[in-house]
């Protein structure tokens, strides 16, 4: 029985979850004798056959180093990799030379901090982040500030887990050079008003980096409409493989930035006296890139577009409200992060039960969640907690699985309390 059909017809029609689940082989297994319930999608997503087969096909049929190869396989690999770049560009409404393949969101932040940051930040300048940032969107800016004698300013968040916009406006000044904000909080699921954040930063003369790692799997993104200067996201969170990610940057900014790493691919001409650098986007892609990762990412984006991000968003919002309701029925369960605008993340605590213990007992029932600080220690400090249990849903999760989670929590609580 699938409870999805208990929903109103228009909701069920958005997405046939049983059909979608058949695209993901990993979901069909038992863990500790129970059907796997995978609710750790904010950590990494599972891969559809389309992606798995694309990687397999690459290695079986046309593995080759890309660019400059005179031979057939090099041509096929180059075309596939560059087609993937075009797919990414179309997906976020960017131009293809603005799409730089990197290892992931972490590298995207570090690249901007090390190049644009080093070039433009001076002593006394300020960089603004929020209290809900992932460590990857804190530490690179902290390192830059320490090196340059600049200051890191932090927008506080409410007890619901929302950015206090007025406080943000107060922090903005003519000293602000960079604002770097998560589109969606990995720990709480809060969707931040990035368009307004970007507009206010631009008014103050600052550039904006958007950490879109948790947004890209769940919603359509248009970098031109947002007018963001930089955006980073990770392939593995959007149903592609690990080790591939994207840094989007406005071409005018990327052109002026120095390279990040030196090596092959990123050069135009090398002599011992002087090296000239390659054009965008190759300037930031030193060395042989993650070719199969790029291909996998293009394939994954094609796959989610075949389902439709509007359908995905709507379905996940239904899962979120169903899950919120189900979890709230549990005694002493407290949801951490109750923003009005949320992605499909449920962070919670039950009484004084240690999240890790709850995670262990859920695992025994085949349920995969994440426990701990979710790489957001300052955010946990804000809530005076050490960590939470986090169930994060993707479009292949079902209301049945939410029911299994709720029952699993109840069983664990009976044991642990």
């Amino acid at each position: 029985m699938s409870t999805i059909y208990e929903y109103p017809v228009n909701v069920a029609a958005m997405l046939d979850v049983n059909k979608v689940r058949n695209d993901f082989p990993i979901l069909h297994q038992k863990v500790n004798g129970r059907p796997l319930v995978y609710l750790d999608n904010a950590a990494t997503s599972q891969k559809p056959y389309a992606v798995i087969n694309a990687v397999k096909e690459y290695y079986e049929r046309y593995n080759s180093n890309i660019h400059r190869g005179a031979h057939h396989l090099a041509h096929l690999a180059t075309v596939a990799y560059e087609e993937a770049r075009k797919t990414v560009a179309r997906h976020i409404n960017a131009n293809e030379q603005e799409i730089n393949f990197v290892r992931g969101t972490t590298e995207a932040v570090n690249l901007v901090a090390s190049t644009y940051g080093r070039q433009n930040i001076k002593a006394g300048d300020e960089i603004i982040i929020s209290a809900m940032e992932h460590h990857s969107n804190i530490v690179p800016w902290q390192m830059l500030c320490e090196e340059k004698g600049a200051a890191l300013k932090v927008i506080p968040v409410t007890k619901e887990g929302e950015i206090i916009f007025d406080e943000y406006l107060k922090l903005l000044s003519d000293r602000t050079r960079i604002v770097s904000i998560a589109y969606v909080s990995n720990a709480l699921g809060t969707i931040n008003p990035v368009k307004e954040i970007i507009a206010a930063a631009h008014k103050a003369g600052a550039v904006v980096f958007i950490d879109a790692a948790q947004a890209v799997p769940h919603k359509a993104i248009d970098v031109k409409a947002l007018d963001c200067d930089f955006m980073g996201f990770s392939g593995h969170k959007v149903f592609a493989t690990t080790g591939i990610g994207v840094l989007y940057g406005k071409a005018a900014l990327l052109e002026k930035m120095p390279p990040y790493m030196g090596g092959g691919e990123m050069i135009k001409r090398v002599t011992f006296e002087k090296t000239t650098y390659n054009e965008l986007p190759y300037k930031f892609e030193a060395g042989t890139p993650n070719i199969e990762g790029g291909i996998a990412l293009g394939t994954a984006l094609d796959y989610i577009n075949s389902i439709g991000l509007d359908n995905i968003s709507a379905y996940e919002q239904e899962l979120l409200s169903y899950g919120t309701r189900k979890l709230q029925e549990i005694d002493e369960l407290r949801i951490v992060g109750t923003a009005k605008n949320k992605s499909s993340v449920l962070s919670f605590l039950v009484g004084n039960i240690l999240p890790y213990d709850l995670g262990v007992i859920l695992n025994e029932q085949g349920i995969a969640i994440r426990t701990g600080h979710h790489c957001c220690q300052p955010l946990m400090d804000r809530f005076n907690i050490e960590g939470t249990c986090r169930a994060s849903m993707a479009f292949y999760n079902t209301t049945d699985e939410i029911d299994a989670l709720a029952a699993g929590i109840k069983r664990a609580v009976t044991m642990l309390r």
Binding site: G33, L354, Y356, D357, V360, I361, E364, M415, L416
Partner: protein, 139 residues
């Protein structure tokens, strides 16, 4: 004369043999933790934390009449259950017997198999701490 460590270990192995699945083992472990005598507040300090445990485990040891006694607490119900088992085996024993204890019951009960690697390291850290207390009393 305390009960032999090996005998207590055998009792625990027998207890675990009754369980059909891992959930029951966890229930048993957690219940042992719940039954553990409370630790006096003066020992719930960082000085008494077992280093190497992911969760907080406070351990206090003392010597009485030639035997070493252990008391403990934890913020984790599972870790508290695990230390409760170790206390059942090692508390009230002669220092030399604690130091020499083989603790075969851990393998025989398959206790480590469902612990994460961090938890498994924590179990090792608890045992080392208990043995080093005993060793310091043995001298």
């Amino acid at each position: 004369m305390p009960q032999l460590i090996a005998e207590i270990e055998n009792e625990i192995v027998d207890d675990f043999a009754l369980f059909d699945d891992q959930m029951q083992k966890y229930e048993y472990i957690i219940d042992l933790g719940k039954k553990l005598a409370p630790l006096a507040p003066e020992y719930l300090q960082d000085d008494f934390l077992v280093k190497g445990c992911q969760s907080k485990v406070w351990l206090h040891a003392y010597m009485d009449n030639g035997l070493v006694y252990f008391e403990a607490d934890s913020n984790s119900s599972i870790a508290k259950g695990i230390i409760a088992i170790l206390i059942r085996v090692l508390s009230g024993q002669k220092p030399v017997d604690i130091v020499n204890a083989q603790l075969d019951f851990i393998d025989k009960t398959d206790l480590r198999s469902h612990l994460s690697s961090q938890r498994s390291n924590g179990l090792t850290a608890m045992i080392q701490r208990m043995k080093s207390f005993a060793a310091s009393y043995a001298q």
